[in-house]
Amino acid sequence: MIKTRGFHVALMSLFLGTLLLSPVWGQGFKPSRPVEVVVHTNPGGGSDVFARAIAEMVDRERLLSHRMAVANKSGGSGATAMAYLAEKKGDDHTIGFFTNTWMVTSLTRKEAKVTINDLTPVVRLILEPMIAVVKADSPYGGMKDFVEAAKKNPGKLNQSGGSPGAPEDLYRLLIQKTTGAKWNFISFPGGGERISNLLGGNVQLLMAQPQEIGEHIRSGGMRVIASMTERRLADLPNVPTIGEQGLDVPILDQARGVLAPPGTAGGVVRYWEDLFGRLVQTQSWKKYVAENQLEEAYLKSREVGEFWKKQGDLLRSLLQEAGVKVAR
């Protein structure tokens, strides 16, 4: 089957030429107008801030000749944004930024007519680690101390966090299950309230992403008692991981990445894979990741699809274990 090199090249060019000429494949796609970037939070929410930061970096690094315009399709913990993206089927100038929330919503909300698996994976960009913090004058030196205290006074200690089924809630349920300790999870819709209730002493524990609470740690208002990661965080070398403290629970990183409407052509997906692939090589990106204590986690479309499936299965079993109703 060994043929000459020239024949190979000819065959390849022929093949590529066909692809270029056939719009179905979308090969050679390049945006010809501003790109709409769909996020599921209101202006100022986590996903919104992330998308705006990326749009700004893409602009600064001149990776795209057109603007990226953030569209806030908030509501239903991602359900609205997913439905909106489904409506945009066939529009190559729309992409979305997904988070774990989209996966949890896909699993738990029967109203969500469109799930993340209906959409086209493009890239995964980062993983956000979580850390557990207490108020600076709290008696708990480590996560282990907190768990021991919760064991002695079941139901007396409180943790603030987001909605049930969020990673911080799943961590609580998992630790409770393995240790027999018991404490309360109090939902606050806004990240600010989670912080202010910890500082005000109404709750004793908070799990959050480092960039959300970094300034409170720096000012000495809060103290880190564990990192919910496999390895210690580079910025917090003295903080033991949850595993080091003898608490054996799976790690649930908050993933952020890009997806596209259902059935987006391969060539369009490859264009975005390539654009974000170049973005993560830039200085602006490296600086952003370091400043916000994120973990780089670039994956291409096919791997993102596998990641969704794996993460979805893990989340489903954890949610079921935790007693949260799973719709599909």
């Binding site: 209101n42 202006p43 100022g44 929410g45 919104d48 801030v49 705006r52 930061a53 749009a55 700004e56 602009d59 603007r67 953030v70 806030n72 399709k73 908030s74 509501g75 239903g76 913990s77 359900a79 609205t80 439905a83 738990t108 909300r109 029967k110 109203e111 969500a112 007519k113 139901g155 007396k156 409180n158 909605s163 049930p164 089924g165 309360n184 999870f185 109090i186 939902s187 606050f188 819709p189 806004g190 600010g192 309230e193 912080i195 202010s196 209730n197 500082l199 005000g200 002493g201 109404n202 709750v203 970094g214 300034e215 409170h216 720096r218 000012s219 208002g221 949260v324 109703k325």
Partner: protein, 491 residues
């Protein structure tokens, strides 16, 4: 720092834009600031925050305009302004109502900045100490304002409140992630936006009722002469207490993350009526009924910046996007922000004094101009009101479903007016319902179901006691009038 020509110019741009989006219902400050954010990345950050903050407090000035003239609340915090403002407009006093709204906004806005400048750190320390039980008590206190909003029949007022509370339960249960009253519709997963209900009930309902009555033709009188188009000295004198009340209530409720300017405006309206010498006139077009809520929602801006700048904690959508902006500009919002960047903080504070003066100068001359809208014959005015309502609602989340909801609530507003149900308690129930339920359940989670948590914490106990006293007021009044009648009959 704030007084360089560039900063003055951008401050003006901000307050001007703010006024415009405040006047237009629907599109609010968070969306506007988000849209402008990319443009600010190349600006000096102090200049940029001066402009964005200008949009934030400028919108509060503009919000009263459509409330007063057309009964269309421009922002959710201007719903209460409709009650007396629109009645004033019907009596030909649209000019004084708009004028007093601007003056009250100016006074309270300035007091809010003073508060931000002088007592920000202690106010923030106080605010974080309040937990869910205190929020619950605050919401109950807010709900007790129904006493002042109910009008003739307390039963109808309470029914309307209950309906509002029910509307607030729609959507996703925050604690169990269960859907409630969504009828399987994805659009209802987050419940119904408050602005749709208030525009529907107030504006659309009003139009429907007026179309029916032939009297609609000569509904508005617009007096000639500039003197009648601006508030008189007597009006301003009448509002002395309202200025103070609005300023103080607005600032302190603003400091609390998650409470919001709508609640502040309701509470200051209630306080105004409670301490008024002629409470029975509220709702018929008294000038204090405009001054108090408009003051409160402006002073709230200064208050809301307190937790943002001293702790990096946003209390509302608008402050959340300002927080995002600070991060994008390379600041690290948190307890050390002011210490690390004194120029930013003091520049902003100084610009807010200037901005409030600009807004007053900008808004007062517009008053006679805006008041002319009411000269339009009803066949031109009503389509305009309906058009503004539909566009405003659609612009919130670009959803036609919301426009259908608007029609539904317009119909409801019509029926309520026909059956003499007051609209304000419904809106009050809806504003407070969500936060109240959340605080109640958070509190009970903290206490493992013990109700005593509400009375063992002093701040919460005091607020509940106050709410109880307010709720008892109509009852006491009733008993007294019965007694008077009984005595009369015996004689």
């Amino acid at each position: 720092m704030a007084l360089t020509p560039a900063n003055l110019w951008w401050c003006f741009v901000g307050v001007f834009l703010g006024t415009v989006i405040g006047v237009l219902p629907g599109l609010g400050p968070p969306a506007t600031i988000a849209m402008l954010l990319p443009l600010t990345l190349k600006m000096n950050p102090t200049t940029a925050i001066i402009m964005l903050a200008g949009i934030y407090y400028g919108a509060k000035y503009g919000g009263s305009t459509t409330s007063i003239l057309l009964n269309v609340p421009g922002e959710s915090s201007s719903v209460v302004t409709c009650l007396d403002g629109y009645q004033m407009a019907r009596q030909g006093r649209a000019g004084p109502a708009l004028g007093i709204a601007a003056i009250s906004s100016f006074v309270a806005g300035t007091v809010g900045v003073l508060g931000l400048m002088l007592i920000a750190p202690p106010a923030a320390r106080f605010a974080v100490r309040l937990g869910p039980p205190e929020y619950f008590a605050l919401m109950i206190l807010g709900l007790s304002m129904v006493v002042f909003l109910a009008g003739e029949s307390m039963v109808k007022g309470l029914l309307a409140t209950l309906f509002g509370l029910w509307l607030a339960t729609m959507g996703t249960d925050l604690f169990t992630a269960e859907s409630r009253f969504t009828f399987g519709r994805m659009e209802l997963l987050d419940g119904i936006d408050f602005i749709i209900v208030s525009i529907g009930i107030f504006a659309v309902g009003e139009v429907l009722v007026n179309i029916e009555s032939q009297a609609g033709a000569g509904l508005f009188k617009v007096p000639k002469g500039l003197r009648n188009l601006l508030p008189s000295l007597q009006d301003i004198r009448d509002c002395r207490f309202a200025f103070l009340n609005g300023s103080v209530v607005g600032f302190f409720i603003g400091v609390l993350p998650g409470a919001g300017s709508t609640i502040a405006s309701f509470i200051s309206y209630g306080i105004e009526k409670a301490f008024s010498r002629h409470p029975e006139k509220f709702g018929t077009g008294v000038v204090e009924g405009v001054a108090a809520p408009e003051g409160a929602n402006n002073s709230e801006t200064g208050g809301a910046l307190v937790p943002l700048l001293t702790l990096g904690i946003p209390g509302s959508n608008t402050t959340a996007i300002l927080l995002a902006a600070l991060i994008l500009w390379g600041f690290r919002p948190g307890p050390l922000l002011i210490q690390d960047n004194p120029g930013l903080f003091w520049g902003l504070v100084a610009s807010m004094y200037v901005g409030n003066v600009m807004l007053l100068i900008l808004n007062l001359p517009l008053v006679p101009l805006f008041a002319q809208i009411l000269r339009l014959p009803y066949y031109a005015l009503y389509p305009i009101i309906l058009g503004i309502s539909v566009v405003g609602v659609y612009s919130v989340s670009q959803s036609l479903f919301d426009v259908w909801l608007l029609s539904l609530f317009g119909l409801l507003g019509y029926l309520m007016r026909k059956l003499d149900f007051p609209a304000a308690p419904l809106v009050l129930g809806m504003v407070l319902g969500d936060a109240m339920e959340r605080a109640l359940r958070q509190s009970l989670m903290m206490s493992q179901g013990e109700m005593s948590i509400f009375v063992t914490r002093p701040v919460s106990a005091a607020m509940l006691l106050l709410a109880f006293i307010i709720l008892m007021m109509p009852l006491v009044r009733k008993v007294r009038s019965w007694r008077a009648k009984a005595v009369e009959q015996e004689l």
